[in-house]
């Protein structure tokens, strides 16, 4: 996850609100996106992420607040005059035009000669891996090809920002994985700022330099994927991204260190960054990712912390096995994911086992 953005933000939103009648779709969005960044807006449907994208594109006018792109205030600037281009969820490939005509659609007012435009179209198609497809009828393309045409059509205009509205949601799983990798490569090559809207947390983690998680018109957390995953700032974000075990705990300050007493596991001291939303002495909640816990298989030893439990549920995934382990004194069983390494058996339901844990993997979720 390396990128080298210039210092000044390319896109700047200040306290942007959007109302549709009584419905408050955006509730004070503050956002800065840097040049060259791959930025994702992640959230469940109805959280306002698409509205935010369409506001940046110029299809929705904010009810209040300001939006600047490259230092220019966008108030009153229509979509066709903004330095942004969009890849639509449906791709919106014009069915009456050929692939080349679709890609060259935005060049109508371009002063270049016909031959130069044709070369630009060919280059753009080449870039998305559709060299030689120009003469095809647009409606004869497959889903993945349509998406590439939509990309070529948007990128040919050399926008400052490329907006992608759930571009992969219409593709099947295999194609989606291929396109994820290709999109990342493409973004590195062209260096254009990408803003991706998605409801798929895995996709956001894989592709983005930075992610904003949105709920109900607000940005709940904005961070790089690793921070977002390891240090979510609320229970809601923690549960939306990946799987998180939540346990009741009591926090206390002891000799300038934060110590939490986690139900069923025990006491442990944590670093300040393990409480991204702060911590107050008293009752709180602690989160632990399934892969940071492990099961002590027969014959294995550890010097880490242990807790005894009983296997409640086993889900076998081939490369992994997910165990739900019930620990005395904790209501919810702990979910633990284990790689199926050589020599490791798959435990049966009812097996008595030891859970290995480490205070370094705890995150305090006070909200």
């Amino acid at each position: 996850m390396t990128y080298s953005p210039s210092a000044a933000p390319l896109i700047q939103l200040r306290d942007v609100h959007k109302h549709y009648g009584d419905y408050h779709a955006l509730r004070g969005i503050d956002l800065e996106i840097k040049k060259g960044e791959f930025f994702s807006l992640l959230g469940p449907s109805g959280c306002g992420k698409t509205t935010l994208l369409r506001t940046i594109a110029g299809f929705e006018a904010p009810s209040s607040g300001s939006l600047t792109i490259d230092g220019r205030d966008m108030a009153g600037v229509a979509a066709n005059h903004r330095p942004t281009n969009m890849v639509f969820q449906s791709y919106a490939i014009f069915p009456h035009l050929s692939v080349a005509e679709n890609v060259g659609f935005g060049l109508r007012r371009d002063p270049r000669s016909k031959a130069e435009k044709a070369r630009a179209v060919a280059e753009s198609l080449e870039m998305v891996g559709l060299g030689g497809y120009g003469a095809r009828a647009a409606h004869a393309l497959s889903g993945g090809q349509r998406q590439r045409v939509a990309l070529a059509r948007a990128l040919i205009l050399k926008p400052k920002v490329l907006l992608l509205d759930e571009p992969l949601s219409a593709l099947d799983k295999k194609m989606r994985e291929t396109m994820q990798v290709e999109l990342i490569k493409l973004q590195r090559n062209v260096g254009i700022t990408f803003i991706l809207v998605t409801h798929d947390q895995e996709e956001a983690l894989i592709m983005s330099d930075r992610i904003a998680v949105m709920f109900e018109g607000n940005i709940a957390q904005m961070a790089d994927p690793e921070t977002m995953y390891r240090r979510p700032n609320s229970r809601r974000v923690a549960e939306f991204i990946g799987k998180m075990n939540l346990l009741p705990a009591t926090a206390a300050m002891e000799r300038n260190r934060i110590v939490v007493d986690v139900a069923g596991l025990g006491r442990g001291a944590i670093e300040p960054d393990q409480a991204p939303s702060g911590v107050q002495p008293g009752a709180t909640t602690v989160g632990i990712r399934p892969e940071t816990l492990s099961i002590l298989f027969p014959g294995e030893t550890t010097d880490r912390r242990l807790a005894a439990g009983t296997v409640d549920e086993v889900v076998y995934f081939g490369d992994m096995t997910y165990y739900d382990v019930r620990i005395p004194g904790v209501e919810q069983p702990l979910t633990i994911s284990m790689k199926n390494l050589i020599g490791r058996p798959v435990l049966d339901v009812g097996a008595v086992t030891q859970v290995v844990w480490d205070e370094r993997s705890l995150v305090v979720l006070s909200r």
Partner: protein, 270 residues
């Protein structure tokens, strides 16, 4: 035995019932006898020759063509507005307004004719003319136009317009370069269907026509004269030929529209 053979046989008989009158038309139009009855007496084109030399018929035809052309253009223009609005955002009262425009579909035609007659003669005290017929025909054609164009507009991805604007076009440019080419076949269908409806209408024309009758009014007048029967047959043959030709053209454009938009053909105008 093939599945549904009973239904298939029924369908064939039903089609025969639907087509029987039309198939009889040319039979008696080219028959060399003044009465419409079997057995046929021989081939003749004299009824067509007589049509060719009847001035009143030519006037009626010209009248009808003018009325049908203006009606088709007017109704389709208004139909495009309504159908396009149907695909845009809702506003309070939109479905009510659109429903009201469609009302002539479920109103007995004679009521529309009578109501308009009252307005024209009693309220405004205007003379009946081709204009009154055009105005009334447009009222009954708009719902058909909307029904045809709705299909064309609803097949459009709502993102098309935004995509075109995102790529630098104005809203008008987006309409001209993307929306219009995609709905153009629907517009042609609508023009042709409205043209046929107007050309064919008798009830409204009889109430609202001025000094110059339209074609159906003229034909209706002919039906009172027994010796004019073969003439009507000949005229009918010509009209049916024109209608079917226009229909085939309309269907061709509709299918091309469907193919162009890359859709599956679900068939039918209505």
């Amino acid at each position: 035995m093939k599945k549904g053979w009973g239904l298939r046989a029924y369908a064939v008989i039903y089609l025969a019932f639907l087509y029987a009158p039309i198939l009889l038309l040319p039979l008696f139009a080219f028959n060399d006898a003044a009465i419409i009855a079997f057995p046929l007496s021989g081939f003749s084109t004299r009824w067509f020759e007589q049509l060719w030399t009847t001035q009143a018929l030519h006037d009626a035809l010209q009248n009808s063509l003018i009325i049908a052309t203006v009606t088709a253009v007017l109704a389709t223009t208004l139909g495009v507005c309504a159908a396009r609005a149907g695909t845009l955002a809702n506003f309070p009262g939109k479905s009510g307004a659109l429903g009201f425009i469609m009302l002539p579909l479920v109103l007995p035609e004679i009521v529309i004719a009578v109501a308009l007659l009252i307005v024209v003669r009693q309220v405004f005290d205007l003379e009946l003319s081709n204009l009154t017929v055009i105005a009334a025909h447009t009222v009954i054609c708009i719902p058909f136009s909307i029904a045809i164009l709705n299909g064309a507009f609803q097949n459009l991805d709502p993102s098309f317009e935004e995509a075109a604007m995102d790529l630098g076009e104005t809203r008008w440019g987006a309409f001209r370069l993307v929306i219009l080419p995609l709905v153009f076949p629907g517009i042609v269908s609508s023009l042709l269907i409205c043209f046929i409806i107007s050309l064919d209408d008798f009830v409204i024309a009889q109430f609202l026509t001025g000094a110059n009758p339209t074609m159906p009014v003229y034909i209706y007048g002919l039906t009172r004269f027994v010796d004019a029967l073969p003439l009507i047959m000949a005229l009918g043959t010509i009209l049916v030929t024109i209608s079917i030709t226009l229909l085939v053209i309309a269907e061709y454009f509709r299918r091309r529209g469907v193919a162009r938009a890359g859709l599956k053909d679900s068939g039918g105008f209505l």
